[in-house]
């Protein structure tokens, strides 16, 4: 938090020198290679980078879905390193929201039940006002009683977003939430995420390799080979494209081939 920052911000989540390696010996892959990062509350942050650069791994570690090989993750002021499964589960349920690329919803439950699922699991009642606000922002009120199979891909992702927000988490992680969507549906989802930051004051971290998606964000972090290589504030689509091309050329020959996202 430098003094030049106009509005000093609270830190929602923090990564401190994260390392994550897969495999051993010659087959060793350093998915994360010393990542330190502060994610600010009330911001929409994008993590970008070429395929295989470690975006998903970083997000999984930040979201308490995976454990780093070394380093520390802090979410909502709590260090994750020492927490047991039960506490991690509670943390994910109460403090963190998720949106995945696909398969976000439980097929046997209606849209509304899916949205309320984290609360039901915690046996908590939704805050009525907040729930209505989320539903209205996501624009799904007429669809609440539908099963996922009766919703389009974009609608499903918006339900997933609503679910991620309904428990008022400290931070929402979204891994390529628009990866499977056409551009119109993707725009709806991104609009919704933008609104939830601006109007509902949420904190969102989104992994993406789509410059259009990243251009909705307040801050874009670039990852390559498991390291943070750059960062842009409120970039335009063109700025991002230029940066990506730059990174791509630098990473030539180093990045593994054939991996998507």
């Amino acid at each position: 938090m430098s003094l030049t920052d106009p509005a000093p911000r609270e830190i929602a989540a923090q990564a401190i020198d994260l390392h994550k390696t897969y495999g051993k010996g010659a087959a060793e892959v350093r998915a994360l290679d010393g990542v330190s990062l502060d994610l600010y509350a009330g911001q929409f942050t994008a993590i970008m980078g070429p395929s295989g650069s470690g975006k998903s791994t970083l997000m999984h570690c930040l979201a308490a879905l995976d454990k780093p090989t070394s380093g520390e993750v802090v979410v909502g002021g709590r260090k994750l390193g020492r927490l047991r499964d039960r506490r991690l589960t509670a943390l994910r349920r109460d403090k963190i929201g998720f949106v995945f690329q696909a398969f976000n919803l439980v097929p046997t439950l209606t849209a509304q039940e899916n949205i309320l699922l984290p609360l039901s699991l915690a046996r908590r009642k939704p805050e009525k006002g907040w729930f209505d606000q989320v539903i209205d922002t996501v624009g799904l009120r007429p669809r609440l009683d539908h099963k996922p199979s009766e919703l389009s891909g974009g609608q499903q992702q918006r339900v997933a977003c609503a679910r991620a927000l309904v428990s008022r988490p400290d931070i929402v992680f979204a891994d390529e939430p628009t990866g499977n969507l056409d551009s119109t549906s993707a725009a709806q989802v991104l609009d919704f995420l933008r609104h939830s930051v601006d109007d509902l004051g949420q904190t969102i971290v989104m992994v993406s390799h789509d410059p259009v998606a990243a251009s909705y964000c307040d801050r874009v972090i670039f990852l390559a080979d498991g390291r943070i290589v750059d960062e842009l504030a409120k970039p335009s689509r063109e700025q991002i494209l230029a940066h990506m091309a730059d990174l791509q050329s630098r990473a030539m020959g180093l990045a593994p081939i054939g991996e998507d996202a």
């Binding site: 998903s56 999984h60 879905l65 995976d66 499964d85 039960r86 589960t89 509670a90 994910r92 349920r93 109460d94 998720f98 995945f100 690329q101 696909a102 398969f103 976000n104 919803l105 439980v106 097929p107 046997t108 439950l109 699922l117 984290p118 039901s120 699991l121 915690a122 046996r123 679910r163 891994d175």
Partner: protein, 870 residues
């Protein structure tokens, strides 16, 4: 295609292993039962062959030796004198003629003075003569010591000696039927039938003089003669020669005939045992088949994408079907092989159980015969292939385009046809079961077949049809139950409960098929439960209604006892009346000399004058006060023989004496006495030796029943074969026998339930694998491990409770109908609610247990899989 099949098998080892287990258990049970029955057969046939001489001289009209041994009271009173045997011995065709002395009512007490139980198998007491059997071998083999020489010596079989704790040289305590009832004899050796074993029978072998002292009041007479043929003389020639000198009332028969008769007699009993066991094996196999159908259906649903790809690449429908069936075949062969081996082990286990119950079966006759192996493999392969046929046809229907589709869930299958056919079948089953109430039509079918009139058979067939059709449409019938269970578990367990309920409803057919396996087991268990409870209630009713004396004295094994016991009891303080009753046998009606088979003796009861006074007989005609020279008959007997009040009937006893009592009363059927009741005095006149079958005791007014009971107990303390019982004890002792059978049936049905549990484990395991991503998602958004385990457990319990609800409903329904069909014997209906509650609880426990493995497995699943398995 072949390689792919094998790959598939290898890839799903664990899942297939579980469903294989269902077949393994079914086949194992079948193979075990077949092996065991075969062993039982061989044991008996070995003993029969090994203990039968070339020819036997025996009282005419007697059927088998075993029957005589078991029924001393009705046994032959005619005896052979030594001169008759001498005459036989001098025939040139006869090499040896050995007089046989045998009898019953003899018991061995152990070293602690307790009766050595033989539970069911007879006690064979006879003299050792050394005569060879029809194979020329000795009938008995001496394992240890020597044969008895004096009157105070005996030889026992090994099992009895061991149970009683006697060793060679010890003094064995015996309870004898006559004379000095408690006596001792020195154990000089241990013997067994030729070929080993006694099939549970107790052997008591005496010297001829010793046996005569016990059974013929010391007179030198014989019950039968064993003949050994001279060299070159056939059995037939031997019998022809013997018959020229055999005294009146006796006949010589060939050893082969004796063997055939014995095997016939024992064969019925053995058939009952093996049919009884095979029924349970068949149930186990049917339940196993359900699990196979289900496993294959699930595996194919999960593999539909791969199958579609194959189809897209040009595999024909036939090839897909064949590959699935081939997979089933390989599985069936493996399962049958394991099953046959396990069955062999199981047969030894069964033999051990029967050995405990006193039925000794030599383990060297428990071999796997080619027939057993053949049947087991055939059943295993047939059932598996039949069960896999439907899923394999479904596999072939997967369209190639499914390979391209995102979701691999098969499209909802139409169930209208299936449901309608199932409902019609169910209706047919219910109507069949209700026929005895509606009225069984008397139509003769073409080909001379008659419509069976046994009401129980109708109910049985109806129940079978109904249970199987319910199993078939369980998806449809289970829906309301599942919905109700979902609501309940949702209310009690919140979201986890609701999710579990939803999961159970996701594929109702899968859930239904899984539950059906349990349903079948529980339907049978609760049906039997209703029958047993009704039987116990009926026993209580009958005892309440008919048990009029204060105490009853009789032998738990219904063996007669000497009259001296009653004499002593009459002297006991507090005893007012001791009413005797005796059981005898006589041929009813004119003796047909041409056709001796028709002269089957019937049981008749002898009573004293007190009996009609003590008991409250339901007199329909005449009076129940039967006097000497009169006879009391039941309505049934009157109908059967077309007898009228006042008519005289003909009774011919074994002694050759005849009675012609006059019918003085007709009574309703009762447990107190038999169809034909005469006075004991008449039996004495007919030369039936006096013994008592039961004593009915009235106390003097004011006497304390407990005190008198105790005095009488003391009196019979050294007579373990006789028990003094009041009304409650009497009812309990009968119920005890019912319950023993009940628990045995429960034990056998437990296997079907174990198989059903495997089915649930299997379905859940497969569902968990299928839902890996969903489970990962739930875990990611905050489902704890505990909640996940609870969710899976609740799903499992839901399946189990569905099975229990359907099973108990069917079981009770058909239990009630069957009771109704048998209402002549089961006079009152009782639905054992407490037991049904226990079964329901068992179902819940079964559900919890079945979920253990899948729940642990799901809990271990990596959260990340939901996201990573793109």
């Amino acid at each position: 295609m072949l390689r792919l099949t094998l790959r598939n098998l290898a890839a799903h080892k664990v899942r297939l292993l579980m469903s294989t287990l269902a077949i393994v258990l079914g086949v194992a049970f079948l193979a075990g039962v077949l092996t065991f029955s075969h062993g039982l057969d061989r044991t008996f046939s070995g003993i029969i062959n090994g203990s039968t001489p070339d020819a036997q001289v025996r009282p005419a009209n007697s059927t088998t030796a075993t029957e005589d041994a078991a029924r001393p009271g009705g046994g032959s009173e005619a005896m052979l004198r030594p001169e008759a045997i001498e005459r036989l011995r001098t025939l040139p065709e006869v090499a040896r003629a050995d007089g046989v002395v045998q009898g019953a009512g003899l018991y061995v007490l152990d070293t602690e003075d307790k009766l050595v139980s033989s539970s069911g198998a007879p006690t064979l007491a006879f003299n050792h003569t050394g005569s060879p059997n029809l194979l020329g071998e000795p009938m008995l083999e001496l394992d240890l010591g020597s044969w008895p020489k004096t009157e105070k010596e005996l030889v026992l079989d090994g099992a009895t000696a061991e149970k009683a704790g006697y060793e060679v040289g010890d003094a064995v305590t015996l309870i004898a039927p006559q004379g000095e009832t408690r006596r001792k004899a020195t154990l000089t050796g241990i013997a067994a039938f030729n070929g080993g074993g006694t099939a549970g029978a107790q052997l008591l072998v005496f010297s001829t003089a010793g046996a005569q002292e016990l059974f013929t009041e010391g007179k030198d007479v014989y019950a039968a003669v064993s003949l050994t043929a001279a060299p070159g003389v056939s059995q037939k020639e031997l019998v022809e020669a013997a018959n020229t000198v055999v005294p009146d009332g006796f006949e010589a028969v060939t050893g082969d005939k004796v063997v055939a008769e014995s095997e016939d007699a024992i064969g019925d009993f053995l058939d009952v045992i093996s049919v009884f066991l095979i029924v349970f094996a068949v149930i186990a196999v049917i339940v196993g088949a359900f699990i196979i159908v289900n496993t294959f259906s699930i595996l194919i649903a999960q593999r539909s994408r791969q199958l579609a790809l194959l189809r897209a690449l040009g595999a024909s429908r036939r090839q897909v079907t064949v590959s699935v069936l081939f997979e089933a075949l390989v599985m069936a062969l493996i399962a049958a092989t394991i099953g046959v081996l396990a069955g062999w082990g199981l047969a030894h286990g069964l033999a051990a159980v029967f050995r405990q119950a006193g039925l000794e079966i030599a383990s060297d006759v428990l071999d796997l015969t080619p027939r057993t192996i053949g049947i087991s493999y055939a059943v295993g392969v047939f059932v598996t292939l039949a069960a896999a046929l439907l899923p394999s046809r479904r596999a072939a229907k997967v369209p190639p385009v499914a390979a391209m589709r995102e979701d691999t869930q098969p499209p909802a299958r139409s169930t209208v046809l299936r449901t309608s056919v199932g409902l019609v079948l169910l209706a047919v089953g219910l109507v069949l079961a209700a026929m005895p109430r509606i009225g069984i039509p008397e139509i003769s079918l073409p080909g001379g077949f008659e419509v069976p009139t046994s009401p129980a058979l109708w109910v049985g067939v109806g129940a079978g049809v109904s249970i199987l059709s319910v199993a078939w449409i369980s998806a449809f019938l289970g829906r309301p139950v599942l919905a109700a269970l979902r609501t309940v578990s949702g209310l009690v367990f919140g979201m986890t409960g609701k999710l579990a309920g939803q999961n159970a409803m996701r594929d109702p057919r899968r859930t239904g098929a899984t539950a059906s396996a349990l349903m079948i087991g529980l339907a049978l268990v609760s049906l039997i439960g209703v029958l047993a409870a009704s039987m116990n209630a009926s026993i209580s009713d009958v005892v309440e209604e008919e048990f009029k004396p204060d105490l009853i004295v009789q032998s738990p094994t219904f063996t007669p006892f000497p009259t001296s016991i009653g004499d002593e009891m009459e002297k006991v303080e507090g005893v007012a009346t001791v009413s005797r009753s005796q059981v005898a046998q006589a041929v009813i009606g004119k003796v047909d000399l041409q056709n001796p088979k028709k002269n089957e003796p019937a049981f008749l009861f002898g009573v004293d004058e007190d009996m009609p006074r003590i008991y409250d007989l339901d007199v329909l005609e005449g009076s129940d006060d039967v006097k000497p020279g009169q006879v009391l008959i039941t309505e049934e007997a009157a109908k059967e023989h077309k007898w009228q009040l006042g008519e005289r009937i003909d009774l011919t006893f074994r002694s050759g004496r005849q009675l012609h009592p006059q019918i003085s009363g007709i009574i309703a059927k009762t447990q107190v006495t038999g169809d034909i009741t005469v006075r004991i005095e008449d039996l004495v006149e007919a030369k039936v030796p006096r013994e008592d079958a039961s004593l009915s005791i009235l106390l003097t007014p004011g006497a304390d029943p407990a005190v008198v009971h105790e005095r009488l107990d003391k009196l019979v303390a050294d007579r373990p074969v006789v028990a003094v019982q009041d009304k409650d004890e009497f009812a309990e002792s009968i119920k005890g026998q019912v319950n023993q059978l009940l628990y045995m049936i429960y034990g056998l049905l437990a296997l079907a339930i174990v198989i059903a549990v495997i089915g649930i484990v299997n379905t859940l395991g497969l569902s968990v694998i299928e839902r890996t991503r969903e489970i990962g998602l739930l875990r990611a958004i905050g489902l704890s491990r505990g909640q996940l385990r609870r969710m899976i457990t609740l799903e499992s319990v839901t399946i189990a409770v569905l099975g229990a609800v359907l099973g108990l409903a069917l079981g009770v329904l058909f239990g009630v109908l069957l009771r109704d069909a048998l209402r002549e014997d089961l006079t009152s209906l009782r639905v054992p609610l407490d037991q049904l509650a226990v079964f329901m609880a068992i179902a819940v426990v079964v559900g919890v247990l079945a979920a253990l493995l899948p729940a642990i497995r799901a809990g271990r699943e990596d959260v990340l899989k939901a996201i990573a398995s793109e």
